[in-house]
């Protein structure tokens, strides 16, 4: 230092710097020693995570609906210069299976966030990352999303329904139990870093479920498969337009199987035509035809209009009923009321209906649940149309008596038949057996619900005996199941066409239950517009037999394996 003043100034700088350090030191002493707060540690902080949508299980815990981790790719377009944008588009195009122009368009948007591709296969993550690192493309981000996945998507598609892109149920169980199964955000308090990633493995022990509530169906996977195969084979054989088959436990109202043709794979839901997505078992309203005679007969017996032995003249197959000609397939003379069902005489049942009167017939049909929702826990159920009961006079009752002039759904038919099988008590059908929370505990177990008593026990048993006879003595040998007494009724109805009934379009059906004395299962098979053959006996009855035999086999085997996990003693032999 040349001059004294320079020296002084240098000392001034030195002293002021050292004083500055001293001040910081004192400040630090205050912070770290005097006001030290060890409790200020970021010990636990709230962590918001998504609880996945609940699964859907079959009765035997086969997964019917689940979730899959999917990879979604996004980017912040504002972080990309034009050159980097073009480069990123070139590199990403083959990896995302998109056109480079498309990616370029997305990346050119004036936004801070843009999805490049959503819900790709998660296995793509590593190849993508490697390629991006190699090509030095930055600013591409990944997010894990859930996609609904249906491991057995073609088994009971119509019952399961569908959850859409936003994991919102739009059909079937997915819709009716959407509130219970919905994914939601849960909060847990865990050690985490600044990016909200948990850091302490000890936190992970009790953070609640990863899954929302699951629904277990009453659908038995094996029975469902049997019904599906039998129905599909028949529908393909007869080139039918559509078909449905339902298997139920008549005593509880549990739906064991609900098959529809044409069917679909839920994992291809978006590419499926709309008509395949219909759950025809609850949506298809048809004129039931002869199968309906059982209910008319039940009403007449209950009102003591006839007894099983009452003799009625069936006019040898041709009868002028108030100006309309009614014909029988098997012409008969004077036969008993039982034989009217056995021979499926339209004339006989028309006479009985007329005697019963439209008022009383209507009361019974409504009591059986026709014209109203059955209350099954599935959306989009049709009620059928029984407005004819109000509009028509007593003469019209004759037509309604053998299932014309009104429409019903297969499920309504089977539910009503269950009332006959169940000693006159109508049970509410249901497909969800229980709701379990994310850790497998049962939250809610659905109980069989009695709707009302429709028939007396005596009347119900009389009808059952008539139906057994209808299968044994009538032309319904195709529906017999070896070793079991089957009660059932065929149905063949002409479809209403413009201005009258069609000669080519029929709905063939068979409805029945077994064993007749102590029913375990009831089955309905409805096949719409079979080609070549239209008699319910030929078209639907073999399907009934196939399903019934298989179901009885399965139930017998299952009962030995403690089938009734759900506490349904009635199902075990």
């Amino acid at each position: 230092m040349s001059t004294k003043s320079q020296r002084l100034r240098a000392i001034l700088l030195l002293v002021s710097l050292e004083l500055g350090f001293l001040a910081v030191l004192i400040h630090l002493f205050q912070i770290q020693c005097l006001n030290s707060n060890k409790e200020d540690q970021p010990l636990v902080e709230p962590l918001w995570t998504w609880v996945k949508r609940g699964n859907i299980y079959g009765r035997h815990y086969y997964e019917l609906a689940s979730n899959r981790d999917m990879l979604s790719v996004w980017a912040d377009p504002q972080q990309f210069s034009p050159a980097r944008r073009a480069r990123a588009a070139q590199v990403l195009a083959p990896l995302l299976d998109m056109a480079p122009e498309e990616i370029l368009g997305l990346l050119s948007k004036d936004r801070g966030f843009v999805w490049l591709k959503r819900k790709m296969d998660y296995a793509q993550l590593e190849p993508l990352k490697t390629a991006l690192r190699k090509e030095k493309v930055r600013g591409i981000r990944f997010k894990r999303e859930q996609k609904r996945f249906y491991p057995n998507g073609d088994l009971v598609p119509h019952v399961i329904g569908f959850a859409n892109y936003d994991n919102k149920g739009i059909d079937g169980i997915e819709r009716s139990y959407d509130d219970l199964m919905m994914s939601y955000e849960k909060v847990t308090y865990v050690h985490q870093d600044g990016l909200s990633r948990p850091t302490d493995p000890r936190d992970i022990k009790d953070n609640g479920p990863d899954f929302s509530n699951s629904v277990v169906l009453t659908i038995d996977e094996m029975i469902q498969y049997a019904a599906d195969v039998a129905l599909t084979q028949a529908c393909e054989k007869w080139q039918a337009r559509s078909g449905s088959a339902i298997v139920m436990n008549p005593k509880t109202g549990e739906v064991l199987a609900m098959a529809n043709y044409p069917s679909l794979d839920l994992n291809d839901y978006g590419r499926t035509q709309e008509f395949k997505k219909r759950n025809r078992a609850i949506w298809f309203a048809y004129e039931p035809g002869s199968g309906f005679k059982a209910f008319t007969m039940a009403a007449a017996l209950s009102e003591n209009v006839v007894t099983p032995e009452t003799l009625i003249n069936c006019e040898n197959g041709r009868y002028n009923y108030h100006g309309d000609i009614i014909r029988d397939t098997h012409p008969s003379g004077v036969i008993s009321a039982t034989d009217i069902l056995v021979r499926s005489s339209n004339i006989g049942i028309a006479k009985i209906s007329e005697k019963l009167g439209i008022q009383r017939l209507g009361d019974y049909l409504q009591a059986f649940g026709f014209g109203a929702s059955t209350g099954i826990d599935l959306p989009y159920e049709r009620r059928g149309n029984i407005s004819a009961l109000k509009r028509w006079s007593d003469e019209g009752a004759g037509f309604i008596g053998f299932g014309h002039g009104i429409t019903v759904t297969p499920l309504q038919m089977l539910t009503a038949m269950n009332a006959i099988a169940n000693k006159g008590i109508l049970m509410k059908p249901y497909v969800a057996l229980e709701v379990r929370d994310g850790e497998g505990r049962v939250l809610q177990r659905m109980q069989p619900t009695e709707v009302r008593r429709v028939l007396s026990v005596n009347t119900a048993e009389q009808v059952v005996r008539m139906l057994v006879k209808a299968v044994q003595d009538g032309g319904n040998k195709e529906a017999q199941v070896p070793g079991f007494k089957v009660a059932g009724k065929t149905g063949t109805a002409q479809k209403a066409d413009a201005g009258g009934y069609s000669d080519e379009k029929y709905v063939s059906s068979f409805i029945g239950f077994l064993p007749a004395d102590n029913p375990k299962i009831s089955v309905i098979v409805v096949i719409d517009e079979p080609q070549g053959e239209h008699l319910g006996r030929k078209v639907a009855a073999p399907v009934f037999q196939q399903i019934a035999v298989r179901t009885i086999e399965l139930l017998t085997v299952s009962s030995q394996l403690a089938y009734s996990r759900s506490g349904n003693e009635s199902l075990s032999q």
Binding site: E18, L22, L28, S36, D76, D193
Partner: protein, 417 residues
């Protein structure tokens, strides 16, 4: 170019080279060889300041260890599960920097005068190159603001502003050495160097790197002040600069004014509050090496600007106080060198370097302890950052070179006087 390899290499007095010998002596390799021989010649001149070297080695050791502690998680996440990326980078920079320091210390500091103009030109060039494709543009994700602070040449990226510090200090020191007699006049004295400073300030401010620009101007003003400039003139410069800065801040309100206001009026917990919490948790002895929770993405720039907070959390007041004491010793030692230097150039160099380290450390620690608003200034020798560490070590080399005076027997070593 020939003279470049001969910097500080005196001819051996006993040597009277023949024509042939002279030809071989002038060849490239023999010049390199003689330069190396010169560097490693132990018996020449006096010793550099060993206390200063010791302080620097202590700081380096702490820095490397703490950089690893603060950066391993971030490095693991960002660099393909490689925990050692930043540590390795820091070690490379440290080795290169120590080599640079050794060379800079071995040269006689009077030779730096020759470099003052070329260095200044090179610094200017580098600052302009930042805007060419050689520059690395970093974009803030939240604000969308672009930063042109980096250059990337041959796969090596560095911050030109670090070189600017060295160039400007040498330039002003050289300027003061030459203009010593005119220093008290405005036009011949401080004005030229203030104008040069203004150019660099604007360039750095444009990057934008307001903190570094402010730091450099403070260093230059202090150098002028100690060089003997009039207080009134420095005050005048200060007022004019303040006026211009006010205009700029007004135009750039979203960037700085908000930050200033946020500093004084913010109620929400900001990144600085997190640094305070980290220090507070540390207490007297700290939570233990490697156990910081705030380095897990809670602190921004945990391994660079806010490494002091991580040190405070892991090593406690013991750690932070020892580091501060080391810095105080460093400042004392470098000012000591400045006052003992035998000419104005040397003392100005030392003053500039000590002012640089002093201010930089104070600003960084002040930001971490919430005494100052956030600036983006690193902690010398400790923060992770290759170019910064290398240039700092070279600056220390220059300081050591000043401490190791010329062969003049009357100057150094001080402890022999």
């Amino acid at each position: 170019m020939n003279h470049f390899y001969n910097i500080g290499c005196p001819k051996h007095p006993l040597e009277t080279p023949s024509v042939k010998q002279r030809r071989t002596r002038n060849s490239f390799w023999s010049r390199c060889l003689s330069s190396l021989r010169y560097l490693f010649n132990e018996n020449r001149g006096t010793h550099p300041d060993h206390i200063l070297s010791f302080i620097i080695f202590c700081l380096l050791a702490i820095g490397i260890i703490m950089v690893y502690s603060a950066s391993n998680i971030i490095s693991y996440d960002q660099y393909n599960q490689d925990s050692y990326h930043f540590l390795r980078q820091q070690l490379y920079a440290c080795v290169l920097g120590l080599m640079g320091m050794f060379i800079a210390a071995r040269l006689q500091y009077r030779h730096y005068r020759r470099l003052s103009k070329p260095f200044l030109g090179l610094a200017l060039l580098l600052l302009i190159l930042v805007y060419t494709p050689l520059g690395l543009t970093v974009r803030n994700i939240d604000t969308g603001k672009e930063y042109h602070r980096w250059l990337r040449i041959f796969g090596v990226s560095f911050q030109p502003v670090e070189f600017v510090k060295l160039a400007l200090i040498i330039y002003v020191a050289d300027f003061l050495g030459r203009r010593l007699n005119h220093i008290r006049s405005l036009s011949k004295g401080i004005l030229p160097s203030v104008l040069v400073l203004g150019v660099f300030f604007m360039l750095i401010y444009r990057q934008p790197d307001f903190g570094s620009a402010l730091l450099i101007s403070m260093v230059v003003l202090v150098m002028l002040f100690i060089g003997g400039a009039r207080m009134s003139q420095i005050a005048l410069v200060g007022i004019v600069a303040g006026f211009f800065m006010y205009l700029m801040v007004k135009n750039d309100a979203d960037y700085k004014l908000d930050r200033l206001l946020a500093f004084f009026y913010s109620d929400t917990p900001s990144q600085v509050d997190k640094a305070l919490s980290a220090l507070s948790i540390g207490g007297l002895t700290g939570t233990g090496f490697g156990s910081s929770l705030y380095k897990l993405y809670r602190l921004p720039f945990a391994h660079t600007d806010f490494i002091f907070a991580v040190i405070g959390e892991e090593l406690g007041f013991v750690g932070t106080a020892s580091i501060l004491v080391l810095y105080m010793l460093l400042i004392w030692r470098s000012m000591h060198i400045a006052m003992r230097a035998k000419d104005t150039f040397g003392s100005s160099l030392a003053v500039g370097i000590s002012a640089l380290f002093g201010f930089q450390t104070l600003v960084n620690v002040g930001v971490v302890t919430r005494m100052l608003p956030t600036k983006g200034i690193t902690l010398p020798f400790i923060s992770c950052g290759g170019s910064s560490l290398m240039m700092n070590l070279i600056l220390i080399g220059v300081l050591l070179s000043v401490s190791r005076s010329d062969s003049s027997p009357t100057t150094y070593p001080v402890w022999k006087r």
